[in-house]
Structure formats: C-alpha cells, structure tokens
C-alpha cells in the first residue's frame, strides 16, 4: 500500500455549509515530491490536516471514506500517534514556536513522545547541523526573522523523524529570499534524504522543477494529478488561475503562434535552451 492513501475521502467542517473535500482519491508513494496547488478555499489546507489526523480528531466534522497513513486508518490513529509518521509544517511560523529558545523548540516534539534524553540531544544537534541553525541556538522566537522562524519550525517537525513531510504554504508569510531558502531545504530533503514531501505552494515558479508530481485542486476536488509538465500545460490550469511558471506560459504562447517546442519548459534556462533548439531547426 502507498505511504499516504486517500480513498474516496470527503469532509465537512462542523457548522460549515459545503464540503471542504469531496471524494478525494489520491495516493503518494515513498520518495515522491508532490506539490498541491489551487485557489484559496479549495481544500488544500484541509487535505494537509487530514494527512496527520488533525481532521477528524482536532477539527470536528462529518467524514466519509478513509485515509490510510503508512497502513493506519486516521479514523483510529490519534494525532499524537501519527506525529512520528507525518510531520506538518504550517503557514504562520510564530504560531508554531511555543518555547523560549530554539534548542527547546527542537526538543519539544521528541520529548513529548518520550524519547530518551540522550537521543533527544542527538536529534537536536543533527537538526541544527542540517538546517544551519547554530547561530540561533539560544534565541527567543521574538528575536528571529520570519524566515529563521520558519526554518526552526520545520526543524522542530523534522526532529520527530517523520516519514512524510507535509508543508502547508510554509512560505506565504515570507519574503522571496527566505521563501526560496525554505523551498530549497525541502527540495534537498527530498533529493538527498529521500524524504517524502507533500507541499502546498502557490509559487510554482520555484517548485515545479523539483516536484515529481503536481496535484491541482478546486472546490474540494482534485482536478488534475500528474507530472508538472503535463499538469501545467493543461488549459484547465490557466482557467482556475494557478501561478503557472513564466517559461511554461511562453511555451503556450509560442504554441498558439505555431512554434512547437520539443517539450514543456519549467524554468527560464530550459526555455532558452529549447528556443535555441527550435531556431536551429
């Protein structure tokens, strides 16, 4: 069975008028880098919450269908039990930092799960190394910039050693440079450490080249699901209004004018290369 499996899952928040998710079916295998995108209110956040059991254990509502995480049904497994399988990073970094310094923050998760102190210490040092947090060690959350806060928040999640990292718009409150740094870290985790990643993101410019799959959502449903080049060149993508990379947009314009490139470009360099190729032909 896949690592994350949604089987005809629907959800309606308590007191809401319409379904937040309707009959969502998708599966994510180990080592994949899945980007979820779509307009606001399309159910991306709910999907993330579903992945670690916040839906239905923390956010109450009506459910149909099942979600299986590493073989466990989220209807039965509690959020705490899923914490060491699925790590969730949220939008607002300030709300994820609950202790008074970075070391404590990184230790918070493992401590909660009752990991022995020596190993907690070791994990903290590993994360500090991995995410370059040495200079922040003793800092109060208030003394850090948004980008640094988000890096720490991600570290605090990684300290739980999850199999899947789910990040819900981790860059939406950040400036472009910090955002790029965070997305680079995520891409590296996937590439080097083989971490399975599910990322909700609007800046497809930055993530499309690293993603192995893009899932497009609208009104609680999955509209398209496939490799980035396919999904981004579909007409439906521009119709719902997702942030299609500039290079892909140029590709489509050229196509409309009768100039066919050999494949769909995702970055500027790739586009330049393909245009050069077409010119020579």
């Amino acid at each position: 069975m896949a690592l994350v499996e949604f089987a005809d899952f629907s959800f309606k928040y308590l007191g809401a008028d319409s379904l937040a998710l309707r009959k969502v079916s998708a599966s994510v295998n180990e080592g994949e880098y899945v980007v979820i995108t779509g307009p606001s209110g399309c159910g991306k956040t709910t999907l993330c919450r579903t992945a670690n059991g916040l839906v239905p254990h923390f956010h109450r509502g009506y459910i149909a269908g099942n979600v299986f995480i590493d073989g466990q049904n989220t209807r039965d497994a509690t959020v705490a039990k899923l914490a060491s399988t699925v790590g969730l990073v949220f939008q607002n970094p300030a709300n994820q930092l609950v202790t008074l310094n970075v070391e404590k923050e990184l230790a918070f998760g493992p401590e909660n799960l009752g990991v022995v102190p020596e190993e907690v210490r070791q994990r903290v040092e590993e994360i500090i190394d991995l995410l370059n947090l040495e200079h922040l060690r003793e800092k109060h959350p208030h003394e850090m910039s948004g980008g640094e806060q988000q890096r720490v928040a991600m570290g605090a999640t990684l300290a739980l050693k999850p199999k899947v990292l789910v990040a819900d718009e981790p860059t939406s409150n950040l400036d472009p440079r910090s955002a790029e740094l965070i997305l680079d870290i995520i891409a590296n985790l996937n590439k080097r450490n083989g971490m399975t990643v599910i990322l909700v993101e609007h800046r497809l410019d930055l993530v499309a080249k690293d993603a192995s799959r893009i899932i497009l959502m609208d009104k609680g449903q999955i509209i398209a699901d496939g490799i980035p080049r396919d999904v981004l060149s579909m007409d439906i993508s521009s119709e719902i209004g997702v942030g299609i990379p500039k290079a892909t947009q140029v590709y489509k314009r050229l196509q409309a004018k009768g100039i066919e490139l050999s494949r769909v470009p995702l970055t500027g360099e790739e586009l330049a290369l393909l245009v050069g190729e077409a010119k020579r032909r």
């Binding site: 916040l54 923390f58 949220f90 709300n95 008074l100 009752g114 102190p117 210490r121 109060h140 999640t157």
Partner: protein, 257 residues
C-alpha cells in the same frame, strides 16, 4: 513609571548567582522574604537589606537594581507620607520608614530570584517539584507570547487610528472607553492564534506520552546544597529570634517622632 518592575525581569548574565539551581534560589528568596516580614524595626530591616546587596553584586545586577529602586522612590515617598499622616502608632514617621524599608527588602529578595532565573528554568524547576507539565508549560508559554501579543496590540492600535478612532483624546472616562476597540479585536485574534498554536502542538505530540522526557534536567550541586542549608539555618534562626529572644536596645532604635 513602571520601570521598577524591571527588577523582576530576567537578564542574561554569567554569574555565580545565575548558575545556581533555581530551587535553591527559590528557598533563598523565600527565606529572605520571610525574614523581612518577621521584623518591623529600622535596624534589623536595614541589616537584611544590606545583606542582600552583595548577593545582587554577585549577580552583576547591582546597577539595574539601583535604577529600578530610583524608579520606585515616588511610591516609597507616597507610602511614607500617607502612613505618617494616617497611622495611629506612637512614632508614625519611624514606623512608616520601617515599612518602606520592608517593602524594599521584600522586593529585593524576590528580585534576586526573578532577575537570575530564566522562565524556562523556572518551569523546569516546577516540573521537578512535581507540578504537572501542562501547568508549568502554560506558564512558560505565557512568557513566550507576551511580546507577540504586544506587537499585535500595536498593530490593532494603528489600524484603529487609521480608521479615525482617537485613542488619546478626551477625559479619563473616555480614554478608558477607548480601550474597547483595542481589546475586542485583540481577544478575537488571540483566540484564533491559540487554535493555531494548539494545532501545531498537537501535531508534535503534545500530551502524547505519559512518560514525557526532558532533554536537560536540573541537578543539585554541592553549592546548591550549601545555599539551601544556609537558607534553612537563617530561616529557623530568625524565627527563633523573633519568638524567644528579646532584641538588644540598639536594634529596637526608633526615630523620636
């Protein structure tokens, strides 16, 4: 005007007092506070106050303390004047001077604790004194979110000013009423934030295991035992003195009016 509260705010320093275990410091502060409550004569209270100054110096915080006490001088003056005028004891002025010194001594004893104990250490000390983790953690989280909340309050104030709410105009009553458009959004925003914080904590296994572990435990070292021992000795000694020993005449010195 509230600058005297600074004396209760932790300052990062590397000093002998900072490095003591918070639990031994708690006992020390408690002892000093109790002693200052036991006596109401100028000389013994002065002795207690003077005895605390070397401790503050050892904590490298003497200057900070002095600054805060200067900020408190108005309050002390107020206490002295009103007590002198309204008190019914035979030597009202002497009595109110003693009261003022007692207040100083009390504040100083607690400040030795709060100046040198990081809120994290305090929480950890409470946990190791068998306070439930949830309560101790709630306290440390309150500390964590004070600056965040302050920032939010300023943002709301700016937003309301931009919409034409005149926050600093009008008489006292009007100004008190002006708090409403600040406090209501602040509460709503805070509740929302609390939900989102809870979500994040839940996702990291808060309350998952009955046997929560701690990366670092506080340990009593020899000097902590020494401080504890001396504190208990002082406490017992001064309670005994208060109850069974008549103080020599010079200790009972009073001003003539």
């Amino acid at each position: 005007m509230m600058s005297f509260l600074e004396v209760f705010q932790y300052t990062r320093q590397d000093s002998a007092v900072h490095n003591l275990d918070p639990r031994s410091k708690m006992m020390l502060a408690f002892t000093l506070a109790v002693i200052s409550l036991l006596f109401l004569n100028i000389i013994p209270l002065m002795i207690i106050l003077m005895a605390m100054l070397p401790l503050l110096a050892a904590a490298k915080s003497l200057r900070r303390w002095a600054r805060s006490m200067k900020g408190m001088s108005y309050l002390l003056l107020f206490i002295i004047i009103f007590n002198t005028l309204l008190s019914t004891v035979s030597n009202p002025f002497s009595h109110s001077i003693a009261l003022a010194i007692r207040l100083l001594a009390l504040m100083t004893s607690f400040s030795i604790f709060f100046l040198t104990v990081h809120p994290d250490q305090l929480a950890q000390a409470l946990i190791q004194m068998r306070v439930r983790f949830e309560f101790a953690f709630a306290m440390s989280m309150a500390m964590r979110y004070v600056p965040t909340l302050g920032q939010e309050a300023y943002a709301i104030m700016d937003a309301q000013k931009a919409r034409g709410v005149e926050l600093d105009k009008g008489n006292v009553l009007k100004r008190i009423r002006n708090i409403v458009p600040i406090i209501v959004p602040l509460i709503i925003v805070s509740i929302r934030r609390a939900l989102s914080v809870a979500e994040s904590m839940e996702s990291r296994g808060f309350g998952a295991s009955e046997n929560r572990t701690y990366m670092e435990l506080l340990r009593f070292r020899r000097r902590d035992w020494a401080v504890l021992f001396v504190s208990i000795l002082l406490l017992v000694g001064s309670i005994y003195t208060r109850l069974f020993v008549t103080l020599p005449i010079w200790m009972l010195f009073q001003l003539p009016f």
